[in-house]
Amino acid sequence: MAASTPITTKATPGSANRRLRWIDMNNTRTFATTLTLPAQLVLLLIMIFPLLAVVYISMTSWSPTQGGDWTQAYKFWDWGRNYVEVFTDPFFWQALGRTFLIVGIAVPLEFLLGLGLAFLFLEDFRGKRIFYALMLIPMMIVPAVAGYMFWMMFQSNGPINAVISAIIGQPFTLAWLSSEAPATVAVIIAEVWQWTPLMFLIMASGLVGLPEDQMRAATMLGASGWQKFRYLMLPMLKPIIIIALVIRGMEAVKIFDSIFLMTAGGPARATESLSIYMYKVAFQQVRWSFAAAAAMTVLVIMTIIASYALRPLQAPQREAQAAMRQAAETGAAGSD
């Protein structure tokens, strides 16, 4: 932090001036840094520290069963052999693929359903507010409870099979959760049920915020409903859609609770997601350092994917930042 010069401190009275000499209040950057310092320290503790701890453990073959706590892990330093094992473990890659399959089906479904429902809620109808509140309930249910609910519903003598039996007119007794493909379908259904409301909420607020006159202008120019959606709504909603998909995608990759309660990753490994895989490695096989390496690998993969997914948003953001900087500079120049 630069010490203040007499010129930059001319506005402050003498005594306060001396006490605050180490903060150059006229330097925006320094001032901002000073104000956010406590928050940055907290962030450092709760985010950076655990991350570094995981990196540290992942570079050793330490395990709590080998005696000594994690600070002693350096005694088992093995230069990242865990990473080689992660990369050569077929179960890791299978879990990754399975997770991406679940996310790749569930999140687009949530998005399409959420968007469709949001369109329905643009119109006025009786009981709209009640339905709006009802729509949000799944999102507010604890995921473990939702998992338990779906576990019960998907039993071979459960309500879902009962409904299907009633529709097709003959007994239907599929053992959803103990057959490979149906178990994955069940997991996806539970996921979609729980998180469509979030997509609905985001899309509904996005649609309400669209400029009405532009829609009317398009109507006057002869655009059909589909054309208005395609040429106006979609491009205008694009930033919101990208953010919603990225947030949901990142969240869904961590899917654990519902799978753990419905199938515990089974049958065999048919629904073993990354989180379930890591849970098993860490707490059933007690391979903590290996689990740490797997976690780091997932983090790197997700960071790469997320930064690519967010790329379309960054150009306007950079422009906005440049504009703000320019405005700040002209503002500062004006006040001098």
Binding site: Q214, R216, A217, M220, L221, G222, L232, P235, M236
Partner: protein, 366 residues
């Protein structure tokens, strides 16, 4: 090109009656202004013509064809919104060409048409620009061009110049008149600015509280207002109103001011009208500031003596606020006219141009 006919058009929003039984015949190629204060129903009327609002009752015809059930985009109506409603995520070219694109027009033809419009509106150098970054003035042009491209027979403009700076507004007034002459389309122009309406329109519809008060040429609404509202709304500064009563003394009829007893003689024709009417002797004398003269010395034709109250020097002319017999009137004087508050003043009226309104109904007596 198309003619428009409104037949008892009515629009009710829940409790508010926005437009009340509007009848109007707009000829093909006419330039019409809907003039009135905010909330008078002019925008609602426009939206009903465009198809953005459905009338509660009544019919709408274009070229004799009933249009009530034709959807907004299919009526052949171009619409320029007050805030322009530019598609900010598109380029100028995409904005102007939008109407053709949604009709499935081939790219080559679209390029040619957009090029023509851009030429007409001097937008050619900006075609590749992002429309969201244009100045207000250029957005206005893009909005115009965008609605012109499909060649609509009817053009609706909702207060299109209210956001522009004064000099550009004056320029665009001239431009719009030129464009209307070139494309010869029926244009309806909504405004609350009487200067805009007077200077551009062939016909003016003066509206107030959902009713059509007067439908006529600019000359009509200025010289022959049907009621005190129209008389006051048209012209700047406003027409002066003085409450008075009709009296006869020594065989001479005159209007006598209620507050101060000042008198204005009336000619034989007006006298006949006033003597024929029944009802309370409660009248309003209306006279425009430009039909009065103010003097600092007594003049033979200056009927009234008053006191200077305030002065608005505007450069080419001066508005002299004068108190005559308890009523305050504004008089247009020459640019160099100067006086101090409290100075005596003499006011002459051009009796040819007085208007007499019924004090109860506010309707003109003519």
């Amino acid at each position: 090109m198309a003619s428009i006919k409104l037949d008892k058009l009515r629009k009710q929003f829940k409790e508010v009656l926005a437009v009340e039984g509007l009848n109007l015949d707009i000829e093909d190629g006419m330039f019409v202004a809907f003039l009135g204060p905010s909330g008078c129903g002019k925008t609602t009327t426009m939206n009903m013509i465009a198809g953005l609002e459905q009338p509660t009752s009544g019919d709408l015809y274009f070229d004799g064809k009933r249009m009530n059930d034709v959807p907004a985009g299919k009526r052949g109506v171009g619409f320029v919104f007050q805030n322009y409603a530019i598609f900010t995520h598109m380029t100028v070219y995409e904005n102007v060409g939008f109407g053709l694109k949604v009709r499935g027009c081939p790219e080559v033809e679209m390029k040619r048409e957009v090029g023509k419009i851009a030429e007409l509106l001097e937008l050619t150098p900006m075609l590749d620009w992002n429309a969201g970054k244009l100045s207000i003035n250029d957005m206005q042009k893009v909005a115009l061009g965008r609605s012109m491209i499909t060649n609509p027979g009817i053009f609706l403009l909702d207060e299109p110049f209210s956001n522009l700076d004064a000099s550009f507004r004056a320029y665009m007034r001239g431009e719009l008149k030129r464009i209307q002459r070139e494309i010869k389309q029926t244009m309806i122009y909504v405004t609350h600015d009487q200067v805009e309406a007077m200077s551009m329109a062939d016909r003016i519809a003066v509206m107030y509280c959902g009713q059509l008060y007067q439908w006529g040429s600019p000359d009509d609404v200025y010289n022959r207002p049907v009621n005190a509202f129209v008389a006051r709304f048209i012209g700047s500064p406003n027409m002066n109103f003085i409450e008075c009563a009709y009296e006869v003394e020594n065989g001479q009829g005159f209007l006598q001011q209620r507050k101060g007893g000042l008198r204005v003689p009336v000619d034989a024709k007006r006298r006949r009208l006033l003597e024929d009417r029944t009802g309370p002797n409660n009248l309003i004398l209306g006279i425009r500031p430009e039909h009065m003269k103010v003097y600092q010395q007594p003049e033979p034709n200056a009927l009234w003596q008053g006191t200077a109250y305030a002065l608005e020097p505007l450069g080419p002319l001066t508005i002299a606020h004068t108190e005559v017999g308890g009523d305050r009137v504004q008089v247009k004087a020459s640019g160099g006219y100067r006086t101090r508050p409290g100075d005596p003043q003499w006011v002459a009226l051009d009796l040819e141009y007085i208007h007499i309104f019924d004090g109860e109904t506010k309707l003109v007596i003519r």
